[in-house]
Symmetry: C2
Subunit: 351 residues, 2 copies
Amino acid sequence: MTESTKEPEKDFNTNEEAISRIRALRKKGADPLSIARKIKEGDRVALSQGITLIESKSPVHQSQARAIIEHCIGTKQDSLRLGITGVPGVGKSTFIERLGKHLTGAGHRVAVLAVDPTSGVSGGSILGDKTRMQELVQDNRAFIRPSPAGDSLGGVARKTREAVILCEAAGYDVIIIETVGVGQSETAVHSMVDFFLLLKLAGAGDELQGIKRGIMEMADAIVINKADGSNLKNAQKARVEFKRALHLFPPKENQWIPEVLTASALEDEGIQQVWDLIGSFASETRASGWFSRKRLEQNKHWLLQTIDEQLKLRFYRNPKIKEALEEQLRLVEENKTSPVTAAYYLLELER
Amino acid sequence: MTESTKEPEKDFNTNEEAISRIRALRKKGADPLSIARKIKEGDRVALSQGITLIESKSPVHQSQARAIIEHCIGTKQDSLRLGITGVPGVGKSTFIERLGKHLTGAGHRVAVLAVDPTSGVSGGSILGDKTRMQELVQDNRAFIRPSPAGDSLGGVARKTREAVILCEAAGYDVIIIETVGVGQSETAVHSMVDFFLLLKLAGAGDELQGIKRGIMEMADAIVINKADGSNLKNAQKARVEFKRALHLFPPKENQWIPEVLTASALEDEGIQQVWDLIGSFASETRASGWFSRKRLEQNKHWLLQTIDEQLKLRFYRNPKIKEALEEQLRLVEENKTSPVTAAYYLLELER
């Protein structure tokens, strides 16, 4: 299964595992440069190690991770980053497994990552259990990484963005980022992918009510999954309704007209059509120059977002601030100070 | 018209006016404490001066403004803060004028403020022209303040929040905050008021399509305005449709069930009913304790938001950062560095 012979591949979902893996790294005298070199040679163990460093909370590991990223960036430019979202129960895992097998079968190398800021609370609702993609997990052209442990959305999104860079450097040319279709994570995923796919089910007449408007607007395609058996007719009906609903939105900047397809991941129906559609999107937008322009915009956004996130982190991590913040919140609560004065007091304190 | 005899009241919509007003203040040796004292005596000139200091970009004025706010906070606890939103053309000014006259007639003192981050671009689309509320402007129980000049939404929202404190200290017990129903300003206004009112028109069958879902969900009441003449029937029909649409939303935290009313600001019909509804809301939520809990949450939110805003401002204002940011954005663009490395480089630079 692994391309490296040094040790069997292992992914980590707990801090303890990550720490012991990093200790092992240190003992072996591993340095960022050599990890980066191995990642670029396609070494899956090194890739896992790199992502573990990205996910670590330790400042030392984070600076090592940054060095690795710096060595890896810009190595792979012809990848496709695909976001897949949908509410629990829509069949994301099966769909991704099926699509992944199609892709590896066609010679692609596929990495599957996840953005799931709720996993810390829910115990890892997506990708947490790798047995959910049993076939793909055994495919040596595929790399599956569970969602990083519970954290803020900003933190999880940053880690996933950085993991994408390493996966691309390791030679994976299709990066699938999975997210649950609830909450704020879709916006984060949308800001890091080239193509955004929304999985839906044909419902009992409530096709339109259940749609989170914002997500529909972001989608480059909607796939009605589980279009099989007695559900097929409903799925086809839902397809027409979704197509109609999409017409209510203003046209996309890239001139792409979102498509609605039906598929059955279970029966392996319609999966190739989904990939063909993504293929046309990629060639159209690459030809128009929009593909690379969007990636550039995403990178700039990522820079600014990282700064905002770190400014806050630096501020609120300061022990002086932590203590004073509680007191100021109490004073605000008792109407003894204004929120603005309290804020400025805290800001002065940090200087 | 003014309660102070020192000089006639005058509002400012340009920086030049504000600066000359502040110069005048300085000549008279005005200090924050004496302005705050006068504001609490109900002096409208001092109130205008205080708000001008809040709106000034000068750090000196801002610290004076903070001192004034500190002296004014907590003086008035039984005020009602009312947000009114609606797209241009819905008749906001006429409605607010009519409602304002009802309120001053009933013994209330009414302040009208505005959050309109677009006013800098559009030349002041709301409240910019005080002639739009001619009757209310001449009412000495009312205080009308045009929207502060163009700025970021965050800045405008902060200024309006602070102006609310001063207005309440000056004895105004109903604070109306007007916003245009487009863009992001409604969320900001919603986060600073007790009751959020959405003004709508009966349209040509497109009642539901035109609704920004987020705004509908925020509304504590919807008023179909211009329910008069040949429009009356349509307005009544729209009322039923909106009531039905509101049922699709999950119940509000405060157990309040949003109401839909019709009104004609022009013919002065239904205005008292709107105020009665707001009155029931206030007494119900005051009795349940929700009213003050929400204000407390708003204050905490305000504190954290001020910190976030200032952290960013401090960072991006730094001339070293300004220069380096451009360079780093270029390097990111040329794929010579990663967005995260660039961000950390800039963050280190600031230290």
